[in-house]
C-alpha cells in the first residue's frame, strides 16, 4: 500500500440500469487537497458516500489510513471530518452545544470537547455566536459551524461536499481562507465543487468527472495547458454569430458558440484582436484560458461548432 491517506480503486456503483459511478480511481497524499469537479449528477456525492461507507459500491475498493471500508468504517470515520452538501446542524442547540454533542459521537469526553470548543468557534469566526442557534446564523456562519464541527475530532482527512455552494462572495472567501489554514496545518482535503475559482485556488490536483467517469486528472495549470489553447477571445454583440462564417475563424485553433457569444481559442490573440478592430459594433474580451473553459470543453455543455 502506498503512503496515500485515501485510496479509491476502480469504484463502480449502479442503480438498476444506470451506472452512476464507473471505474473511479484516485488517491490523496498527506497534506494534499484534491478537488472533484463535475456537473450535477456526475457522481461526486455518490463517490463521497462510498468513501464514507454509507453507500456500498458494486465493485472496487476504498482504503483510508491503511484501513478498509466498509469493514473498518468506524475506525476510519474516527479520523475523518465531513461537511456534507446540506447542513445537518442540530437546530435546537447553540453553536457550542452542537460542537459538544457532535464530539461525543467520537467517544470524546465532555471535558476534552469543552477544552476545544473556544478554538473551534474562533476558527469558524463564531466566538460571538457561541450561544446562538443555527436558525439565527447566516448561511456562511452555518457552513463554518459545520466545518468547525467536522474538526472536533482533529481529523487527518476532510471530506467536503460543496462546502461553499449558496454562499455570498465574502463568506466564500472566508471559507477558502479557513481551508487554506487547514492545509497549511498539514490536513488533507477531498473537496467537491462547482466553482472553478475555488478549485483553482485550493486544490493541488483536480479530477474532472462526468457521467460517473473520471475524464481528466492533474493540477489546475497542467490541465489547462494540456487541454486548452492559452488565450481566449470572447466576442459578443449584434452580429457576433456572423463571425462564424468569416475568415477570422482561421485565426483561432478552435471556435465555439455559447448563446450569443463566440469563443475563439488561440495560441496568439494578437492577429485576431487586430482583425476585430474592423468590427467596432462588437464587444470583445481577451483573457487567458481558465478552468471554466476546461470544464465546459470536457463536460461538453456548450453548443459546439466543428472546428
Amino acid at each position: 500500500m502506498s503512503e496515500s491517506i485515501l485510496s479509491v480503486q476502480h469504484l463502480v456503483k449502479r442503480y438498476g440500469d444506470a451506472t452512476v459511478v464507473s471505474d473511479m480511481s484516485f488517491e490523496i497524499a498527506p497534506g494534499e487537497c484534491l478537488g472533484v469537479i463535475g456537473p450535477n449528477g456526475a457522481g461526486k456525492t455518490t463517490t463521497i458516500r462510498m468513501c464514507l461507507g454509507l453507500t456500498v459500491p458494486d465493485e472496487g475498493l476504498v482504503t483510508a489510513f491503511g484501513l478498509h471500508m466498509p469493514r473498518d468504517a468506524l475506525a476510519i470515520k474516527a479520523q475523518l471530518g465531513v461537511v456534507s452538501q446540506f447542513d445537518t446542524l442540530d437546530p435546537d442547540f447553540s453553536c457550542a452545544e452542537n460542537l459538544l454533542v457532535y464530539g461525543r459521537y467520537f467517544g470524546l469526553r465532555d471535558a476534552q470537547i469543552r477544552e476545544r470548543i473556544p478554538a473551534l468557534l474562533q476558527f469558524g469566526s463564531l466566538t460571538h455566536k457561541a450561544d446562538a442557534k443555527p436558525g439565527e446564523l447566516s448561511g456562511g456562519m452555518k457552513r463554518r459551524l459545520s466545518l468547525a464541527r467536522a474538526l472536533v475530532n482533529n481529523p487527518r482527512l476532510l471530506l467536503l461536499d460543496e462546502p461553499t455552494t449558496g454562499l455570498d462572495p465574502q463568506a466564500r472567501h472566508l471559507m477558502w481562507e479557513r481551508l487554506q489554514m487547514l492545509l497549511s496545518e498539514g490536513k488533507s482535503i477531498l473537496l467537491t465543487t462547482h466553482f472553478m475559482d475555488e478549485a483553482e485556488r485550493l486544490c493541488n490536483r483536480l479530477l474532472v468527472v462526468d457521467h460517473g467517469k473520471k475524464i481528466a486528472e492533474g493540477s489546475p495549470r497542467d490541465l489547462i495547458a494540456q487541454h486548452l489553447e492559452p488565450d481566449v477571445v470572447e466576442v459578443f454583440g449584434a452580429g457576433a454569430l456572423g463571425l462564424m462564417d468569416s475568415p477570422l475563424k482561421a485565426l483561432a485553433v478552435r471556435v465555439e458558440v455559447s448563446g450569443e457569444t463566440v469563443f475563439f481559442y488561440t495560441l496568439d490573440a494578437k492577429p485576431l484582436m487586430q482583425a476585430l478592430v474592423a468590427y467596432p459594433q462588437l464587444r470583445t474580451l481577451h483573457r487567458p484560458a481558465n478552468l471554466e473553459d476546461l470544464f465546459l470543453k470536457l463536460t461538453g455543455r456548450q453548443i459546439r461548432e466543428d472546428a
Binding site: V56, G60, L61, A73, K77, V82, D90, Y105, F106
Partner: protein
C-alpha cells in the same frame, strides 16, 4: 479487486455502546422542552381518566376482574396507563424520530461520525421508551395523589411499563422506516393504535367481546400489557406472566428486527 458484498438488511443487529451519545443528544434537546411536553403528555390521559373514571364509574360501579370486584376508576387507570405508555412511545418513535431522521437529517450527520445506523435506531428506540417511562411516571404520581391505588406492587408495574414502552417504540419504528411524510403516521394511529385501545380491555372487560374478537385481542400487544399491569394495581400478581411476557417480547424483538432492516434499506443508497 472486488468488494461486491451487498450485505443483507436482515442480518443480525450490530449494536454497541455508541448508542449512548445519541440518546444523550435527545435528552439534551428534551431537557429544554421538558415542561411543556410534560403537560401535553399527561394532560390528555388524565382528562380521560377523570372524566370516564369518575363519570362512567358512577354509572358502572364495580367491575369484576377474575372474580374480584374492582372500582371502575381503578380498572380504567390500570388499563389506560398502558395506553399512555403506548402512545408516548409511539409518538416519539414516529413524529419525533422522523423529524430527526428525515427532516433535520440529524441521523445523516451522526453517521458521518463513528456511529452506525444500528446504534442510532437502538438509541431512538430506547429514547422513545424513556419518554414513555417519563410520561407513565408522571401519571402514576397523579394516580397516587388521587388515591386510585396504593398497591406496593406499583413498583413492579413501573419497569413493566418501561417494557411496554420498549415494545411499542420498536413497532412504531417500523412505520418510521416506511414513512414518506408525517401524514403516514395518521394511518398508524387511526387504523392500528385506536382500534387496539378498544380491543385491549382498557375501557371495558374483554368478556363483553364476541369470542372471535377476544381471540384476536389476546394476541394484541396492548392486551398482554394490560393483563400484566392491571393485577399489580390491584395488589395481586398477574396470572400467565410467562405467556404475556413472551407475547410482548416477540413483538419487541420482531418489531426491532423489522424496523432495523427497513431502516437499513431506507438508508442504503
Amino acid at each position: 479487486m472486488q468488494m461486491t458484498q451487498s450485505r443483507s438488511v436482515w442480518r443480525a443487529p450490530e449494536l454497541s455502546m455508541r448508542w449512548w451519545p445519541v440518546f444523550l443528544r435527545n435528552l439534551l434537546v428534551w431537557r429544554k422542552l421538558a415542561i411543556p411536553s410534560l403537560v401535553g403528555n399527561i394532560a390528555e390521559p388524565l382528562m380521560w381518566l377523570v372524566a370516564f373514571g369518575y363519570g362512567m364509574g358512577a354509572l358502572v360501579g364495580k367491575i369484576s376482574v377474575d372474580g374480584t370486584p374492582v372500582p371502575y376508576i381503578l380498572f380504567l387507570a390500570s388499563g389506560s396507563i398502558c395506553m399512555s405508555a403506548m402512545q408516548a412511545a409511539s409518538f416519539e418513535a414516529l413524529y419525533s424520530a422522523f423529524s430527526r431522521m428525515h427532516v433535520q437529517k440529524t441521523w445523516d450527520g451522526i453517521m458521518n461520525a463513528p456511529v452506525n445506523l444500528d446504534d442510532i435506531v437502538l438509541a431512538e428506540m430506547l429514547w422513545a421508551a424513556f419518554k414513555a417511562l417519563f410520561t407513565v411516571t408522571a401519571i402514576l404520581g397523579v394516580m397516587l395523589a388521587l388515591g386510585i391505588s396504593y398497591s406496593p406492587k406499583l413498583l413492579v408495574a413501573w419497569p413493566v411499563l418501561l417494557g411496554v414502552g420498549i415494545t411499542f417504540s420498536c413497532i412504531a419504528l417500523i412505520f418510521n422506516a416506511l414513512a414518506t411524510g408525517y401524514d403516514f403516521f395518521t394511518y398508524y394511529f387511526t387504523l392500528f393504535l385506536t382500534p387496539m385501545m378498544f380491543l385491549s380491555g382498557i375501557f371495558f372487560p374483554l368478556e363483553q367481546l364476541p369470542e372471535v374478537v377476544r381471540l384476536i385481542s389476546s394476541w394484541l400487544p396492548l392486551t398482554n400489557a394490560v393483563e400484566l399491569v392491571r393485577p399489580l394495581f390491584m395488589d395481586q400478581w398477574p396470572t400467565h406472566v410467562l405467556r404475556h411476557a413472551l407475547v410482548l417480547v416477540a413483538y419487541t424483538v420482531g418489531g426491532f428486527w423489522i424496523a432495523l432492516a427497513l431502516t437499513r434499506k431506507r438508508f442504503r443508497g
